[in-house]
């Protein structure tokens, strides 16, 4: 009985108890839910030491679990977000139906994720993977509206991933007669070459589904936007990182030993970059805040996949850094949209307008997340991006860096769109009575926003954990070579001092702000309707905010690119299959006489063949 048993036990037990607590009362259920997360996280971070191992016996199957620094890094993302999103969840989900079921699945998916990062053998990995998939599926369909089709898409792609993973596991066992991941990485080189490449590709497929890599990303935008926002914060922030976790292991322990190593890496890196580019473009044209963020998540994971696939020291650091930071700012962004949805009743960007004075703290966290998302210094978002660029340039992927740069610059467009459409523009009487979200929702958001600033000046606090994780994976120690507490280095020894950047920014900003605030009291606030518009004054019921066709000129400029939409091909494939099954229905038309004819025909054919066979 050690901390691994305890953490998993608390999460699993808490999930079941929360479900039954719902029968007693809502307050008990909420308390049960939040205390499960907080106690599990607190115990985990206090007690957990790397190299703890645990063994479960499940009726003849032995599941061995253990913790290392890589798992620890990902558990920080999972449990950290779980605590914040958990508190956020309480007011956000208040008053909705079937909450016992929702919270049970919420806890189960955390249980699944923690199990994944602790698994030491492929069987337990697969079991926890499926627990995570199914619990998240049940939450995706929780909202009900159109959920069926979206859920089917999600579970179909997840099943594809799971089957390829299962196939790879079977192949591994057939070769090595062991399910252990350690045996796999040790014995991988002894396998036949054809097995090596097949296993690696199958596993990459399995993980790429969760990490939403093109062309397996189709489920993601709908699933992210359809789940309740308090879960999507986890879904996009932590659950998608499980795909990254798997990819890191596959690339380090398997792909690097392949003879076709270079081509696999380049292909996946390019797929990641194209994912980033295309998803960014689609994010720009979304008119729903949730959809926009969902596409943006797909795009951000594209960068991460590229970093993992390239696999040099600095690109690995970049990918893991981006994973953590994406977990923070994207979770925060989804929480912001959830808060807006709860307070203003919609997430339609063409309807929302001018909420900044109503929800200032929400705006503050949205702004910080936006700056981090765009990768603009001095917030922490740029640390990972900077490293990714440096790694691609020094590694010789010159065209790739241009594609990523395009995606990243185009990212400013949707960042501005979501901030402007929700919070800025002319105020609308419809939203006059909107209030700031409850404190339990605002505090987690502001905590993340402040952390984004803090780590921007001192990225070393995060890089330390990443360094430990990469040392476990067999990389050399990176501190001093690639980074110090407040300095980043590239392959050619050029550096960026993060703390000086932060101080310079703050100094300039504060100086000018003092100039601006000098005699500020003399100024008075005038409404956003009181503007110079060629002498015209908008009436009370008129709103001149610019909302529709926001980036029309940009759309016109890139229209040739927009023709390619991968989901079109999937839909055509689905239509084709449907037509095929329709056709088979003509054979199985449910008429007993037709079936009788089939039986007779079959017998006749059989007789003819049999005669042929036996007489000759």
């Amino acid at each position: 009985m050690n901390i691994i048993h305890i953490t998993l036990g608390i999460l699993l037990g808490g999930a079941i108890l929360t479900y039954f607590a719902n029968k007693i009362s809502g307050v008990v259920r909420d308390l049960m839910f939040i205390s499960t997360i907080v106690v599990a996280a607190a115990l985990f971070f206090i007690k957990m030491t790397p190299d703890t191992v645990a063994v479960f016996n499940l009726g003849g199957i032995t599941l061995s679990l253990g913790m290392n620094h890589l798992g620890l890094l990902f558990s920080i993302i999972i449990l950290g977000l779980a605590v914040l999103a958990g508190f956020y969840s309480l007011p956000y989900m208040k008053g909705k139906d079937n909450l016992g079921f929702f919270y049970m699945n919420y806890l189960l998916s955390i249980f699944g994720m923690m199990g994944i990062v602790m698994s030491k053998d492929l069987v337990s990995f697969f079991i926890f993977w499926e627990i995570m998939t199914w619990s998240s599926y049940l939450i995706v369909v929780y909202n009900g509206n159109k959920a069926n089709k979206i859920g089917i898409k999600y579970i179909l792609f997840s099943a594809l991933g799971a089957y390829s993973m299962l196939m790879a596991i079977v192949m591994v066992y057939s070769q090595l007669h062991s399910f252990s991941i350690a045996d796999l990485s040790a014995g991988f080189t002894t396998m036949p070459a054809s097995y090596q490449i097949t296993i690696a590709l199958l596993l990459i497929t399995g993980f790429a589904v969760k990490a939403a890599m093109m062309p397996l990303h189709v489920w993601a935008p709908d699933a992210y936007s359809n789940a309740p926002m308090s879960y999507t914060a986890m879904f996009s922030g932590a659950l998608s990182k499980m795909g990254v976790y798997g990819l890191v292991i596959v690339f380090v322990t398997m792909v690097s030993h392949l003879p076709q190593n270079f081509w696999v890496r380049e292909t996946i890196a390019w797929l990641g970059a194209i994912t980033a580019g295309m998803a960014t473009i689609y994010a720009i044209f979304q008119d729903d805040a949730k959809k926009l963020l969902a596409y943006s998540s797909v795009a951000q994971l594209g960068y991460i996949i590229t970093g993992v696939a390239i696999g040099t020291e600095i690109s690995m650091i970049a990918a893991l850094m981006l994973s953590i930071v994406h977990g923070m700012f994207k979770a925060n962004f989804f929480m912001v949209v959830g808060a807006v949805e709860r307070q203003a009743g919609t997430t339609d960007l063409t309807v929302l307008t001018g909420l900044i004075r109503k929800m200032p703290w929400t705006f503050f966290s949205a702004l910080m997340s936006a700056i981090a998302l765009a990768g603009i210094p001095p917030l922490v978002g740029y640390v990972g991006k900077w490293m990714l660029y440096e790694s691609l340039i020094s590694n010789g992927n010159y065209i790739l860096v241009i594609v990523i740069f395009f995606a990243s610059t185009a990212g400013f467009l949707y960042v501005f769109k979501i901030l402007y459409s929700i919070f800025l523009g002319q105020e609308e009487p419809e939203f006059e009575n909107v209030k700031e979200a409850p404190a339990l929702m605002v505090i987690p958001m502001v905590i993340i926003a402040l952390l984004l600033g803090f780590f921007g000046a001192f990225p070393g606090y995060l890089l330390k954990y990443i360094d430990n994780a990469l040392v476990v994976m067999g990389y050399p120690v990176s501190q001093g070579k690639w980074w110090e507490m407040t300095t980043l280095f590239n392959a050619w020894g050029n550096k960026v001092s993060t703390d000086l950047i932060m101080y310079t920014t703050i100094t300039v900003f504060v100086t000018i702000a003092i100039v601006l605030f000098y005699r500020w009291k003399n100024g008075r606030y005038v409404s956003t309707k009181d503007i110079s518009l060629s002498g015209e004054m908008p009436k009370e019921d008129e709103n001149y905010s610019f909302k529709l066709d926001f980036y029309k000129p940009f759309e016109r400029a890139i229209s040739p690119l927009l023709r390619y939409k991968i989901s079109k091909y999937y839909n055509e494939f689905a239509d084709g299959m449907e037509a095929f099954f329709d056709w088979t229905r003509r054979i199985y038309n449910g008429n007993a006489q037709t079936y009788a004819i089939y039986v007779i025909t079959f017998l006749v054919i059989l007789l003819l063949i049999a005669n042929n066979i036996f007489t000759v």
């Binding site: 004075r357 200032p360 702004l367 936006a370 765009a374 603009i376 210094p377 740029y382 440096e390 340039i393 010789g396 010159y398 065209i399 860096v401 241009i402 740069f405 395009f406 610059t409 400013f412 467009l413 960042v415 501005f416 901030l419 402007y420 800025l424 590239n490 050619w492 050029n494 550096k495 001092s497 950047i501 310079t504 920014t505 300039v508 900003f509 000018i512 702000a513 100039v515 601006l516 005699r519 500020w520 003399n522 100024g523 008075r524 606030y525 005038v526 956003t528 309707k529 503007i531 110079s532 518009l533 060629s534 905010s545 610019f546 980036y551 000129p553 940009f554 016109r556 400029a557 890139i558």
Partner: protein, 301 residues
């Protein structure tokens, strides 16, 4: 003591940038007027304008983002200025030029535009928002050839630091001759960066009534003008550092920056305005081809 000298150096740098930038704007107004057969305002008119605007009291505002927009804008202009070397040899104004590299500067230059965009958005003026969407779209356009040119130089000399590139040019000659394709791509991208005609689609006086800045008056406008001129000087100095090996003294710096400044200015004087999609496609046409060629050139060489 060291800290004090550095702070004074930084302030001196900013003052120089302000004076030079404003002077260039004034000369621009004069030349534009002469081309259009007008007399035009005196060259020092911009100093008078800025002084008058900044000394005004703020009487109305549209909220805190709008109020702080000039502060965000100044982060880009002043902040970036502090991170690039002004003169070669680093005896004058070293500032923070060893503490940030090119890729960092590329991103740092954007922060101000984002803050400004949000400030303009809060005013509720539809023209402001339209102008910003145009500006951001155009930025996606010109950043592609610009980044290609920069990456070409980085891989040619294996460094991302501006000071290193300047030192290299001391030995090998100006980069505008070492990698002329990159220089051409960068110069074409610069046309978009300066937002003179035909790329003045953000302000677009005719249809957008000066766009994002339309609700900013008085102190706000004064600070924005100052920021604009500092930023112009910053960008010109960056180009001089990258392609002309930096300047050894302030006179050479003025000559070189002014020569570069003439390019977007004179090109603008004879061009009508593009539509946004035309502007984007312009940058994704020949400038990008040149950028790609520069990349190939620096890989091959």
């Amino acid at each position: 003591m060291d800290f004090l000298i550095k702070t004074l150096g930084a302030i001196a740098t900013i003052i120089v940038a302000f004076i030079v930038g404003m002077l260039y704007m004034g000369i621009n107004r004069k030349i534009t007027a002469r081309v259009q057969n007008r007399v035009g305002p005196p060259v020092w008119q911009n100093y008078i304008d800025a002084l008058k605007l900044v000394s005004k009291k703020t009487s109305v505002h549209h909220g805190v983002m709008q109020h702080l927009a000039p502060a965000f804008l100044m982060i880009s202009s002043m902040g970036t200025l502090l991170f690039i070397p002004i003169l070669r040899g680093q005896s004058w104004f070293p500032n923070l030029s060893y503490h940030g590299d090119l890729i960092f500067i590329l991103y740092f230059m954007v922060l101000g535009s984002l803050g400004m965009a949000l400030g303009a958005g809060q005013t509720g003026n539809p023209n402001a928002a339209i102008g910003i969407t145009r500006g951001l779209s155009q930025m996606v356009g010109f950043e592609i050839p610009w980044v290609m040119a920069l990456v070409a130089m980085m891989i040619q000399y294996h460094t991302t630091s501006i000071s290193d590139l300047m030192a290299i040019q001391q030995q090998h000659g100006w980069l505008m001759f070492q990698n002329p394709l990159a220089f051409l791509a960068a110069i074409l991208a610069m046309l978009g960066m300066f937002r003179y005609s035909p790329f003045d689609i953000v302000g677009a006086p005719a249809e957008l009534a000066s766009g994002p800045i339309s609700e900013f008056g008085g102190k706000y406008l004064g600070l924005m003008m100052s920021s604009g001129s500092i930023f112009a000087f910053t960008k010109l100095t960056l180009y001089v550092d990258l392609f002309m090996g930096g300047a050894s003294n302030i006179v050479v710096l003025l000559i070189e920056t002014f020569t570069l400044y003439l390019i977007p200015m004179l090109y603008g004087l004879v061009s009508p305005r593009y539509r946004t999609e035309q502007a984007i496609r312009y940058f994704w046409g020949w400038p990008t081809v040149l950028g790609l060629a520069a990349l190939v050139y620096s890989v091959v060489i």
